[in-house]
């Protein structure tokens, strides 16, 4: 049963990965990546790590892929030109990929890890469940946890700065603003606000 699940999920993961590389339209590539991520979640469950599998489905297949779909829909489908700027790229790319696989395989096979050929350690039923992971994350790995939250905040601010609205004031003068399309109307609203407040205050007084 475990072998059937493993080979099914492995085929899904590999097929999804090849689909990402081979699909011409980025939209189909995103869909293939979703198949790949779900298959990987099944593999994580087989490796008795329930929390990572759930996070994979919720964070990756849920949130990140929605972001991808939005950006692909915004940027437009097939933007890739058919010609190759580097001659022989179509053959060199797979060749180098195969070389990386051979190198990794040699590294795995020549490693003297005896436990590689086993099913892994016998783990207790609670291995990898949210309680254990959360305890480890908030006690022993508290500092990396907080550092990753700062990293997420920085990434969010950076994305707003990068992808904010571009305001072209004149020739060669480009400034980026993080606010949305209402930025031109904001000062007018702000100037109205104090008068409204004072009138309201006068009414109550």
């Amino acid at each position: 049963m475990e072998a059937v699940l493993f080979f099914g999920a492995a085929l899904g993961a590999l097929g999804g990965a090849i689909g990402v590389v081979a699909m011409r339209s980025p939209f189909y590539g995103v869909l293939a990546l979703i198949i790949h991520l779900f298959s990987l979640a099944v593999l994580f469950l087989l490796l008795s790590s329930a929390f990572v599998a759930a996070a994979q489905v919720v964070v990756y297949a849920g949130a990140v892929m929605v972001l991808y779909v939005f950006v692909v829909a915004y940027v437009g489908g097939n933007t890739e030109s058919a010609w190759e700027p580097i001659p022989g790229q179509r053959f060199l790319g797979p060749l180098l990929g195969a070389a990386i696989f051979v190198e990794l395989s040699i590294a795995v096979l020549s490693s003297s890890l005896i436990a590689l050929g086993t099913h892994g350690a016998d783990v207790k039923p609670g291995f990898g469940d949210p309680a254990g992971i959360g305890k480890l994350l908030l006690e022993r790995f508290l500092l990396p946890f907080e550092a990753s939250s700062i990293l997420l905040l920085l990434a969010a601010v950076g994305a707003i700065v990068l992808a904010g609205r571009v305001v072209i004031d004149g020739p060669g003068k480009v400034s980026a603003e993080g606010s949305s399309e209402h930025s031109s109307e904001a000062p007018a609203e702000r100037s109205e606000d104090p008068s409204a407040l004072t009138s309201h205050a006068g009414g109550t007084a």
């Binding site: 993961a13 590999l14 590389v21 696989f101 050929g117 099913h119 950076g158």
Partner: protein, 99 residues
């Protein structure tokens, strides 16, 4: 299943992702292939965590997931910025930083 199978599958997925980065020219697809490589690394981490019987590898996998989310957000922001400035979305056309 033996742990070996998972590690071999992980290296195969990593190689497919690297091949995609070498082959494709659209920045969106290159980001997707980067995701493939990061996920292959995650699979290896979780497999090794099961092999040792220690949950710390899974913590590492979760941190990798966080870093991947940050990378996606910044990368997609860059793509949107490139698109808004009417520049071509092709990594061979965007060669101003090349020496």
């Amino acid at each position: 299943m033996n742990i070996e199978w998972y590690i071999v599958l992980s290296s195969l997925l990593f190689a497919v992702g690297a091949m995609g980065i070498l082959l494709r020219r659209s920045p969106v697809v290159i980001l997707l292939c980067l995701e493939l490589m990061l996920n292959a690394g995650n699979l290896a981490l979780v497999a090794f965590s099961k092999m040792v019987g220690n949950q710390q590898g899974q913590i590492f996998a979760i941190v990798v997931m966080v870093v991947a989310a940050c990378e996606v957000v910044v990368g997609l922001g860059l793509i949107v910025a490139i698109f808004r400035r009417k520049l071509p979305l092709d990594v061979d056309e965007l060669r101003e930083l090349r020496g």
